[in-house]
Every structure is written in structure tokens, then in C-alpha cells.
């Protein structure tokens, strides 16, 4: 399927939506209105939860803040609903930014639990504010006026709701295909990965959180003026989980899934309300929630990924078109060969009583491959983590390109020009090779959220694509750049990690056991690539276990043992050194 066909399909869908009020009953239009209103929240959750991996049970509270804001402005104070919209968006986003600043540093389930906490706190607050009508709520909320037209009928507000939904959908997809969207898609790979790419994970999370709240605020505003009456109950924990259901049912990784999920859940609930009383007499309301929850649990057991990925398997793949000739991204000047690029001075790191790295000093000169070796427990990995900022240096100095980097964050060090790979490959398996490499180029690009969502970043994006393709070709992976990274064998995944690191245009490439788990042919291929990179004046620091691999490749070797530096020399001398032999094989006597 080409992009043109996809656009045609989208156009047909929009035309169907536009024609709907003329074709279906007014009750169905009302139902469609609510689907649209819920869909906005679900699109936000698709971004936040499905893609960003932040599960929020509290979106209903955001919807509530917006609904109450606008209701208060228009019904209680008598101003225009459009002023209500302004207050709704500003207030909701401010509250979200505030809550996000506090809670988004929380880890794993702590974060989801905090959303339950503030969600409930806000919900209970609605019922206890006298100006907001306590638990009775606010009635007689006026319709939204456009010029002299008041959108009081369900067919009139229909167009406003669905126009907003369609615009939000388009903006979401634009965003996902931009620099910030890729960063958002990388979040689930873990903080270490994201920060090592020079991305500030917290800021990306905060942005996603506020975007989701913004969509919820639009939904809340529409909800208030659609239903003309609000009380606290639709903004409680039950609705919070229902929004989450919508996003998960639809396929939490895609914005369109949010719309589908909202439609499915709303129609299902409506169906249960209609048909359940026919099957069982008497019990209705309580049985609804039972049936509904049961269906949801069954759904999560059978298809935890939702309907969109399920349907997508039967859809034709989108064909990609290679870009033409484009301006290149600016490139850093590599330092002159022999310049001491990285200076490690007397560095120490303790874990409680254990000294993992004990006053180690060495230098990496520009244009060389330095191997850092040592037996298990020698402190190589700790040293690696100190260099890349994953661990804090206890004592000593690390200077990179003339700048001290001790105490700086991982993303800062990455931006300074140190690009790394991982011993246990950290790729985004559900992103294409090209997107994975583009992640590496994140710090070299500048488009923010807004430029991404409005597609004002296309020139820069085209250059970035060309650069990523160039790096893929450099490591020999240019056959199918649109393949999913998870489908590659390990050897090629390691190459892909190097391509991603190269896309950052680094001064120093730090590789953590790049030969681990590779077969002989793959190791040879890897060694060839590293030598080729050095010949292009790239400086490489290699932490490695495989002696054969290291000996044939590096210019100099630093040996560590029990946290201290044992010696530093050329490979041949290291091989002959009795201290190294003792460290690896035990003493002879």
C-alpha cells in the first residue's frame, strides 16, 4: 500500500464521518458524540500509556477539571463557553504539569499508583467544593456558540467533536513520526537506553503527560457542553479505568486504536444495557459492570496488545519511498590524531565497603582503538558506567575533549560526543532499523513537539533520514531499512547498535563487549568494521572479554584486576606480561 492510498482511505473515512448524521438515527448521533468525546482521552492514553509506557488511571480527573472549569465559567459565572475552554485547557495542563513534575520520576508501578492517588484526591475534591455544587454538580450548562449559531442539538455539536478528534489524530501521527515522537517511542526501552541517546527522558515523559492531559481537557470541555449537566461521578476511578480499557482494547500503541477502543467500549456498554435486561430480568446496572469487567479481563488475557495490531497483520504493509538528494546534517570536526580525547585521572568508586574501581588512570588518544580488559569482577563494567555517566564518580576526574564530565547526566555526556553500545543489546524491537538509527541522531536534530506535530520539520527530517541510511550502509545493514529491529539476528543487532551510535556523530565510541555472543564470522565482520571506523579517524574504547578479538584489533590495552589498573601497553607486550597471565590464569607457583 502506498502513502497515497492510505491518504485516500483516510479521506473516505472522514467523508463517512461527515455524512453520518444524515444517515443514522439521532440516538446514534448522540452515541457517536460520546464516542468522539471519549476517543480524545483514549488518544491521549494511547500516546502516554501505549507508547510511553506510563499507565495512568487518573485521566478521568483531568477530564473532570476541564469540565468543571468550563461549567463554572459558563453556567455559574455566565461567560462564554469559549472562555471556559481557555480556562479548561490552561488549568488542566497546569495541574498536569505540576503533578507530572512531582510524580513522573517515580518508577514502575509506583507511578501508576500515584495516578490512582491523585485521581481519587481530585475526584473527592469535586464533591466537596460548594461553588461546584458539591455532589449535586452543575446543571444547565449552555451550549457552545459559533458566531450566532448555538450548538445545542446533538447533530450540530457532532461536527465540532469529530473535527477536533480528526485534527488530534492527524497531529498525533505527525508527532509520532517526528524527533520527539521517536524519543517517546524509545521510552519503554528503559531510562539507561534513552539517556544514553542524549534524550532527557524526564522531559519527554512530562511532554507526553501534558499532551494526554490536554486531550483530556478538550474532551472534558466538550463533555460538559454536550451533556449540559455534570456531577463528580463520571470523573472517578471507574471512568479512569474505563478510559484505560478503551486505549488497551483499541491497541494501546496507536492513536487510531484509541478511537476504535472508545467506539467498541461505548457500543459494548450500550449493547449490554440494551440486551442484558432481555436475558436476565431484574438485575441490570450491577450486572452490566460485571459483564463489562469480565469481558475486559478476558480481552486482556487473550489479546493484551489490542485490536489494531491484530487487524494490522492482515493489512498490506505500507511501502516506503527512499528520499532523493538532500542537504547533509552538520558534522563535528574529529580531533587531531594523538590528542588525549578522554583522560581518566585517579578515579575511584565504592559500593559500601567494596572498592569496585580503585584509583584508575588512563588516557584514550584520538584516532586509536583502546581495549579495556580484565577478568570477571575486575571493575570493567563499573568503569564503563562511570565514563558514560550511568554511575557517579566517587573521587577523581574524567576529562573528555577538554571538559570535565564527572557528575554530569548521561544524556549530557552523550550530547558531548560519547556514544555507547550495550553488552545486552538495547534496541527498540518494534521500531524499524531506520527509526532505531534515527534515535541516535536525536541530539543533532532540533524540531520540538509543535514543529513535529505540524510537520514543519520535514526538511530536517529528510536530512536525518539520509544520514541514518548512510550509517546503516556504513555497517552493512542497508538492505531493508524498514524491517523491524527485533527480527534481526544478534550479530546484526550489534551492528545496528553501532549504526545508531554513529548517527550521533560521536567523537568517542564506547563499546561494551561488542563480540559477546557472536559467531566467528560475525566477530570477524565486527573487527573489520571497527578497523574501518578507526581508519576514518574515529576514536574507539572497547571493553571486552574475548582476548582473541581484542588482540588482533586494538592499538593499546589497559588491563584491570580487582578494581585497580594492572598495566597498560601494546597487545603483544600485554600478552607476555606475567602479571596479566597471573590475573587470568592464576599464579604458577
Amino acid at each position: 500500500m502506498t502513502l497515497a492510498r492510505l491518504r485516500l482511505a483516510a479521506l473516505v473515512a472522514v467523508l463517512c464521518l461527515a455524512a453520518a448524521p444524515f444517515l443514522v438515527s439521532s440516538f446514534s448521533v448522540t452515541l457517536l458524540n460520546y464516542i468522539g468525546v471519549y476517543a480524545l482521552v483514549a488518544i491521549g492514553l494511547a500516546l502516554l500509556t501505549g507508547i510511553g509506557g506510563i499507565i495512568s488511571f487518573g485521566q478521568a480527573a483531568f477530564v473532570g477539571i476541564a469540565a468543571y472549569s468550563s461549567a463554572w465559567v459558563s453556567a455559574v459565572s455566565g461567560y462564554s463557553p469559549w472562555l471556559g475552554l481557555c480556562l479548561a485547557v490552561v488549568l488542566t495542563c497546569s495541574v498536569a504539569a505540576f503533578l507530572g513534575l512531582i510524580t513522573l520520576r517515580l518508577r514502575g508501578h509506583f507511578l501508576s499508583l500515584s495516578t490512582i492517588a491523585w485521581g481519587l484526591a481530585i475526584y473527592f475534591l469535586f464533591g466537596n467544593i460548594p461553588t461546584l455544587g458539591n455532589f449535586n454538580g452543575i446543571a444547565a450548562i449552555p451550549p457552545i456558540p459559533i458566531g450566532s449559531l448555538k450548538l445545542s442539538g446533538s447533530a450540530q455539536i457532532y461536527y465540532l467533536i469529530w473535527a477536533i478528534v480528526v485534527v488530534c489524530l492527524v497531529l498525533s501521527y505527525n508527532l509520532l513520526n517526528s524527533r520527539m515522537g521517536r524519543a517517546l517511542r524509545a521510552l519503554r526501552g528503559g531510562k539507561i537506553l534513552v539517556e544514553s541517546l542524549g534524550i532527557n527522558a524526564f522531559r519527554v515523559k512530562l511532554a507526553a503527560f501534558v499532551i494526554a492531559a490536554f486531550l483530556a481537557s478538550l474532551s472534558g470541555w466538550l463533555y460538559a457542553h454536550l451533556s449540559t449537566f455534570i456531577s463528580p461521578s463520571p470523573f472517578g476511578a471507574e471512568m479512569g479505568i474505563e478510559y484505560l480499557m478503551m486505549a488497551m482494547v483499541g491497541g494501546s500503541g496507536s492513536p487510531i486504536g484509541g478511537v476504535l477502543g472508545a467506539a467498541l467500549v461505548t457500543l459494548l456498554k450500550n449493547g449490554i444495557q440494551d440486551y442484558l435486561p432481555l436475558i436476565t430480568k431484574g438485575a441490570s446496572g450491577e450486572l452490566e459492570i460485571v459483564v463489562f469487567s469480565t469481558l475486559f479481563i478476558l480481552f486482556l488475557q487473550r489479546a493484551p496488545r489490542g485490536i489494531v495490531p491484530f487487524v494490522a497483520r492482515f493489512m498490506p504493509q505500507l511501502r516506503h519511498v527512499a528520499p532523493g538528494t538532500i542537504a547533509k546534517l552538520p558534522v563535528r570536526a574529529q580531533p587531531a590524531p594523538g590528542y588525549p580525547l578522554l583522560i581518566v585521572q585517579d578515579v575511584e568508586r565504592r559500593f559500601g565497603g567494596l572498592i569496585a574501581v580503585n584509583h584508575v588512570s588512563f588516557e584514550v588518544n584520538a584516532g586509536e582503538i583502546l581495549g579495556l580488559i580484565g577478568p570477571n569482577g575486575a571493575g570493567k563494567s563499573t568503569m564503563f558506567n562511570l565514563l558514560t555517566g550511568a554511575l557517579r564518580v566517587g573521587q577523581g576526574q574524567i576529562t573528555f575533549a577538554g571538559q570535565g564530565i564527572c557528575g554530569q547526566s548521561q544524556s549530557h555526556i552523550a550530547r558531548a560526543g560519547i556514544a555507547r553500545t550495550f553488552q545486552h543489546v538495547k534496541l527498540r524491537p518494534r521500531m524499524t532499523l531506520l527509526d532505531n538509527v534515527l534515535l541516535g541522531a536525536h541530539p543533532r536534530l532540533h524540531a520540538g513537539l509543535l514543529r513535529g506535530a505540524l510537520r514543519l520539520d520535514r526538511v530536517e527530517e529528510a536530512s536525518a533520514h539520509a544520514e541514518a541510511l548512510r550509517q546503516l550502509a556504513r555497517v552493512g545493514l542497508s538492505d531493508d531499512p524498514f524491517m523491524l529491529a527485533g527480527n534481526l539476528p544478534l550479530g546484526k543487532q550489534r551492528l545496528l547498535e553501532i549504526a545508531r551510535a554513529l548517527a550521533a556523530d560521536p567523537l568517542l565510541l564506547v563499546l561494551d563487549e561488542p563480540a559477546a555472543g557472536l559467531r566467528r564470522q560475525e566477530k570477524l565482520r565486527m573487527a573489520e568494521l571497527l578497523i574501518a571506523l578507526r581508519d576514518e579517524h574515529l576514536t574507539i574504547l572497547l571493553v571486552e572479554h574475548d582476548m582473541e578479538f581484542v588482540m588482533g584489533l586494538v592499538d593499546r590495552i589497559v588491563v584491570m584486576d580487582f578494581g585497580s589498573k594492572l598495566c597498560e601497553d601494546a597487545p603483544a607486550a600485554i600478552r607476555a606480561d606475567p602479571r596479566v597471565q597471573e590475573a587470568y590464569l592464576g599464579s604458577i607457583a
Partner: protein
């Protein structure tokens, strides 16, 4: 607020906190063994209170039907999974565990209710009836996704809670219940009246925590549970079945939740949906303990009880707002205090 009122509030808070502590300890138990954040524990507590109230008034509790229905469902789920993996030879055993055993409990309780003249006997009947619920739910709901992420399990647990609230309304009806106090004893310390019920609650909480401690330290089964909690794969290699450990954890947790339900019923009016707030507040306590530490959870639960007691004196309408808003700083503190590397959420 003078000293007497403060003392009174403190006594009240400690009693409420002790109830939360029982549920909190159960929550930690289940979480460490199965990784499920079992939000529905509060519902189990509420159901116990409702069951006891029904037995007290010589009515057949809705729990009988609920357990029977769950037993049939659990057996069908197990049979289905056995059929899929071609292990139908194990069907009789599955029938025994998931169908006959719970049904036997239901039958025994049903037969015994008309003759239960003494309150302790009625309490035992209620506890016996409530115990199979959580293990059966585990088989039906959580076992098929046991290897899923903590977050998936959490979402499912929340959905399960809503299902249980609906079931509660169907099986118990909308009326609230308040059972007879277990004791009319009362005393006072330094002029602060201390109801016997509060003493009983605190004593029960201490006794059950102690029993759990003894179980963990001095029985093989308890040790196997701890082993599963520390490392599932390792425990498995030692011949401990995580699924079985899970069942035991749910049974034990149910007893804790059940006892808390029995203890709270004479103090507060319990409705079919009262469980959510009990469970959630116990859960706040469990988080103070980092969802790992039993003593930490008990202290956290006491703190929540005290906070709620004093908050409701200051502003009864906003007490829930205060309790849940307090959770956020606690979460922050816990998240930064725990040293583990952040869990990576892969699709």
C-alpha cells in the same frame, strides 16, 4: 483539640490502622509471591462482613452462590487448560481441588448455619466460606497471565475489583450491615475511654502478624513461600511450584482480609462496595513498606489509620482527599528510597 480528644482520636486511629494493617500484610504477601497488586482484598474483607451479618440473622449468605459459581468457572478454566496441553489424566485431581473442595466447603457451611449458636462458630463459618474466593479468582483470572508485566496484572486486578463490586451487589444486595460488637468490655487509660472492640482489633492484628511470622520462619511451606517471593525461577529449580505458592498466599491473605472484615463490621457499616476504600487505604500502608516489608506495611497502615482519624476530625468531608494526597509524597519517598534498577517495560 485538647488532650482527651487527641487521645480519643489516637485510639480510634490505631484501631482503624490495625484493620488496614491486616489487609496491608495480605497485600504484601500476595504481591511478593505472585507480583499481583491485589486491589480486591478490600472487597474480600467487605464480603466477609456481609457474610457474617447474613449468618448472624440466620439467612443464607450470597457468598454460598458466589463461591459455587467461581468453583465451577475455575474448574472449567483448569479443564480447558489441561485439554489444551493434553494432560486430561490430571482432570480428576483438578476436579477435586477446584470443584469438589470449594463445593464441600459451601455444603458444609450451608448445613451448619442453622446450628451455629455461638458467635465464634459463625465467624469461623464466614471465614471458611470466604477463603476459597481469592484462590479461585487467581486460577480464573491471574494464572493465564502469570508471566505478564506487573502493570498488566495491576490493570487486571483493578478490573477484577469492579467485577467483584458488581457481584457484591448481586449476591448481597444494596443494604449496609453492622454486626453485633464482639465484646461489651470497655476500659479507660488516663481518662481516655478505650472500647473493648478497639483492643480486640489491635490484639487480633498483632496475633495474626505473629502467626504469619511463625509460619514463615518455622514451616517448610512458609519458607517455600518466601523462596518464591525472593526468586521465582530459583524456587522453581528447587522444586517449588509458583502456582501452588500463589494459592497458599491467596488463602493466607484471605484469612487476614477476612479477619479484618469481621473486626470492622461492628465498628463501621459495611456495604457491598465498602471494600475499595479499605483495600486502597491498606494499600497506601503497604506502599510505605515498599510492598516488600511486613513490619513497614503494618506501620504504614497504622499511620494511615491515624491520619484518617485526625483528618476526619479536622474536616470530615475532605478526609479522603487528605489521605490520598498524602500518598503522593509517600510514593516519592519510597520510590527514591528503593535502590533497585528501574524495571524495563518491554512490549
Amino acid at each position: 483539640m485538647d488532650g482527651t480528644i487527641a487521645g480519643f482520636l489516637a485510639v480510634d486511629g490505631i484501631a482503624t490502622g490495625a484493620i488496614y494493617a491486616l489487609v496491608a500484610i495480605g497485600t504484601v504477601l500476595i504481591f511478593t509471591v505472585t507480583r499481583v497488586i491485589f486491589i480486591p482484598f478490600g472487597d474480600i474483607a467487605a464480603f466477609t462482613a456481609l457474610t457474617l451479618a447474613a449468618i448472624d440473622s440466620k439467612k443464607m449468605p450470597g457468598t454460598l452462590g458466589l463461591v459455587a459459581a467461581l468453583a465451577i468457572l475455575a474448574f472449567l478454566t483448569e479443564a480447558g487448560s489441561l485439554a489444551r496441553t493434553r494432560r486430561l489424566r490430571q482432570l480428576p485431581r483438578a476436579a477435586l481441588i477446584y470443584l469438589l473442595l470449594p463445593l464441600a466447603v459451601v455444603g458444609a457451611v450451608w448445613a451448619a448455619i442453622p446450628f451455629a449458636a455461638y458467635e465464634p462458630v459463625r465467624i469461623l463459618l464466614a471465614l471458611a466460606l470466604i477463603m476459597p474466593i481469592a484462590p479461585l479468582l487467581d486460577r480464573i483470572v491471574f494464572r493465564p497471565i502469570a508471566s505478564g508485566s506487573v502493570l498488566l496484572l495491576l490493570v487486571v486486578a483493578v478490573a477484577l475489583h469492579f467485577a467483584l463490586v458488581g457481584l457484591g451487589l448481586i449476591f448481597f444486595g444494596p443494604e449496609g450491615v453492622r454486626t453485633e460488637p464482639l465484646t461489651s468490655f470497655a476500659t479507660d487509660i488516663a481518662g481516655i475511654p478505650i472500647p473493648g472492640q478497639s483492643l480486640l482489633i489491635v490484639l487480633a492484628a498483632i496475633a495474626f502478624s505473629l502467626l504469619l511470622f511463625l509460619f514463615f520462619d518455622f514451616t517448610v511451606m512458609g519458607k517455600s513461600l518466601r523462596a518464591t517471593a525472593v526468586n521465582r525461577t530459583g524456587a522453581r529449580l528447587m522444586g517449588i511450584r509458583p502456582a501452588r505458592s500463589g494459592t497458599i498466599a491467596y488463602l493466607l491473605g484471605s484469612v487476614m482480609a477476612g479477619v479484618s472484615g469481621v473486626l470492622i463490621a461492628p465498628v463501621n457499616t459495611i456495604f457491598y462496595d465498602s471494600g475499595f476504600l479499605i483495600g486502597l487505604k491498606a494499600f497506601v500502608g503497604a506502599i510505605v513498606g515498599g510492598l516488600i516489608s511486613y513490619p513497614g506495611s503494618a506501620i504504614g497502615a497504622l499511620f494511615v489509620g491515624l491520619l484518617e482519624s485526625f483528618a476526619s476530625f479536622q474536616d470530615s468531608a475532605l478526609k479522603d482527599v487528605i489521605v490520598f494526597a498524602t500518598l503522593i509524597p509517600i510514593l516519592l519517598w519510597r520510590s527514591f528510597a528503593s535502590k533497585q534498577i528501574d524495571e524495563e517495560v518491554e512490549e
